[in-house]
Amino acid sequence: MFGAGGGTSSYEEIETTSVIFLWGSNARAAHPIFFHHLLRGLHNGARLYVVDPRRSESARWADMWMGIDVGSDIALANAMANVIIERGLANHDFVNNATTGFEAYAKTVAGYPLERAAEITGIPGDAIEQAAIAYATAATAQIVWTLGITEHHNATDNVLALTNLALLTGHVGRYGSGLVPLRGQNNVQGGGDMGAIPNKLPGFQDVEDPVLRGRVEEIWGRPIPPEKGWHLTQMFEACHAKMLRGLYVIGENPADSEADSTHAREGLASLDFMVVEDIFMTSTAEMADVVLPAAADWAESEGTVTSSERRVQRVRKALDPPGEAKTDLEIISRLAEAMGAGWGLPTAEEVWDELRRVSPLHTGMSYRRLDELGGIQWPCYDENHPGEKFIHHRLWKVPVEGPPAPFFPVEWVAPVDRLTDKFPLRMTTGRHLDGFNTGVQSGGFDSPIRVGGTIDLSPEDAERLAIAPGEMVQVISRRGQVEVPARIDSSLREGLVFMAVHYSETADVNRLTIEAWDPKSGTAEFKATAVRVEKAGV
């Protein structure tokens, strides 16, 4: 977002903000402790708008739930922007001072009058209007999103549509106003921070920027390839194109977790050589030539992770890893030794101190300070800097400090997997409170509230299809089919079905989903699959 890739705000800010948009996020189930902060906000009077095809647990708290049709978020955001501009509610001082490209943006959103937006999104115009006015006139407002926004073929555009709204109203760069992407895993943010993105060096420094790259090359004493790398989906394309021949997979399970898993497995199988380093013997590990057993990073080794509020925190070793398992750091160091790199066996802190030299955002974060302060929110430029609760305050400086933030006008495009008579139901995916990703971690404990892998149907669809709760059904998409029990869920409406992602063994949702992916971010379309549901054995 306008430079560094991280949420703009702190959790505490949502406790006192006036308007909250939870957009494509069921934080109540997927980010429960963040939701505690949000609930405190509600108790303090904040109004909550939830944009989600399902009337999820989170949506049940909303002052207004907007049951948007899957994949129409851009149309909704643009229509809201149009209302805001037409009613003169845009924050023109902010727009003039801190942004560029307003004219083009205004022109784009003018193409989304309420009637059209209502038709695309399924949400009545008066509701869109009300939401737009509430957002624009709020003293402070936050937009919070998760995978409902980013697991689409046009994920990046979805995010841009939301950031545009914040720029239009000035709801960014101030305490209480901001844009908050909630990260799905404990260190997605940290991975980004550390440069585990194809086009970035640690600290979100662009690898293709010769000045920044040069600085890091100097510290590392090695040249760095000057072009950006492939993202995950491109890697699979490359597998299939026989351009990628060897793969070193650390702590990922693409054989299960990729949308269209059949396609993914074919890609992995075509490799000449694969190394998997993991704490589990995953499906991917089973396909590997070499498996390196790893220690669990959060309980069996030392290091740091970064949370969704940019807070870098220490993880510590509490247990000895089992058997021959070693920490990721030790495995990589030994591998480097074997390859003759001469790194020795550095401690986690030594590696961290090097990172602090490479990434200006992390320079002030010594282990000692991280311990003392209970983590630090980047940027933290030196050892006297407390870190920042929110970022982008520079946009409020007059004149703006640094480059202005550009509007990126985006157009709505329908989901790739079209609904037809043969595949009339829109299937979306999500998370259960007690589940996590593909379920290898969360499956280990005996949860009294585990629902298990089901296909969830609206009461209307269940009645139409004469399907009883618990009955086994076939879910069929253009790519595959699975047999699972049905569950009736009144938070769904007619035409919308839902599967949780945690049960790859019994209800492998990724056999159904489509591999269409966002060319900008590489995220696949998990959220919008066309399916039909049939009674099993028919």
Binding site: H31, F280, W298, E300, Q313, L319, L433, F445, D446, S447
Partner: protein
């Protein structure tokens, strides 16, 4: 911020307006006993062990909730204060099993010479507390001191509820409700001495609204609410707190970044808590952070130390 001057036990104290007498006492390092008070919860002022004497007030006042006022003259250790605190502790100790109550409370009880036996021997255990109707109770003979005893509730794989240890401090209700989790799976039911923590119609936790975040357990001061793992180890006489290490780390699941405290005994996680003074969690977690650690234990082919055996049995029993 306006400041307020008051006198506590003869010492002049200046504090910010809006703070409580308890805060003011703590600012001069005068600790007070508390049971129902917790920094992260709204004060309910029900246990009354924190009462202090404020000049001009007809009754004693709860220091945990009473706001400071300019010119207040406060006694925290007068004979009157000590009397009430002692009797209140005696009432609790005579009606509730306090064997696992926190350490400071035990010290306070000793310092006040608490003697619960003066009310007579404890009455025979009862099992009908969940059925009692408001305003009605059985014949009282008076030979023995009635207690809040009721059978221990083991109705799920993760928690155990032993309300014979419950002092009705409302903390679990607050943590499950408004002050944190907002799930409202438990509330106070019944009235008077028969008031108890209950689900709707006393249904089991899995039948009720519980989402198994464990936040009620995290705040319970008496051991009435306990993780199944701890309960089983205690039953087997294997719970050895002095052999446990507590390591702070970060939850391995979603991206919120909750801090965890892993309590480890014999290289096994036996309990997970969260630091109360951390801004992200304030001590609260979700089911994944609280209980989702099993997978790392399972990877280390559960050995045959006694701890492992008990933990494994607990899991397979449920």
């Amino acid at each position: 911020m306006t400041e307020v001057a008051l006198v506590i036990d003869g010492v002049d104290v200046v504090v910010n307006e809006g703070v409580t007498l308890l805060d003011a006492c703590r600012s001069i390092a005068k600790q007070q006993p508390t049971l129902c008070y917790l920094e992260t919860l709204a004060p309910v002022n029900v246990c009354r062990v924190c009462v202090v004497e404020v000049e001009g007030s007809r009754t004693l006042v709860p220091s945990c909730s009473r706001k400071v006022e300019g010119g207040m003259v406060v006694q925290t250790d007068s004979e009157r204060v000590r009397h009430s605190r002692r009797v209140v502790f005696e009432m609790l100790a005579s009606s509730v099993n306090l064997a696992l109550v926190d350490h400071p409370t035990r010290e306070w009880m000793e310092s006040y010479n608490v003697d619960p036996a003066r009310f007579g021997p404890p009455a025979a255990p009862t099992s009908d507390r969940d059925q009692r109707h408001a305003g009605h109770h059985g014949e009282v003979v008076g030979g023995a001191a009635e207690t809040v005893h009721q059978p221990i509730k083991v109705d799920n794989s993760l928690y155990v509820r032993d309300y014979s240890r419950c002092i009705l401090c409302y903390k679990c209700v607050e943590a499950c409700g408004d002050d944190a989790q907002n799930t409202f799976a438990i509330a106070v039911a019944g009235r008077g001495f028969d008031a108890r923590i209950s689900t709707e119609f006393d249904v089991t936790l899995p039948e009720g609204a519980c989402v198994f975040c464990g936040n009620c357990i995290g705040v319970c001061p008496t051991g009435a609410l306990m993780f199944r793992s701890e309960h089983e180890l205690r039953q087997a006489d294997l719970w050895e707190e002095d052999r446990q290490s507590v390591t702070r780390t970060v939850c391995s699941f979603c991206g919120v970044g909750c801090n965890l405290e892993l309590h480890v005994q014999d290289n096994r996680i036996v309990k997970v808590t969260s630091p109360q003074d951390h801004s992200v969690t304030e001590g609260h977690l979700c089911i994944k952070g609280r209980f989702g650690y099993e997978y790392v234990q399972e990877l280390g082919d559960l050995a045959s130390t006694p701890v492992d055996v008990v933990l494994r049995r607990a899991r397979s029993d449920s």
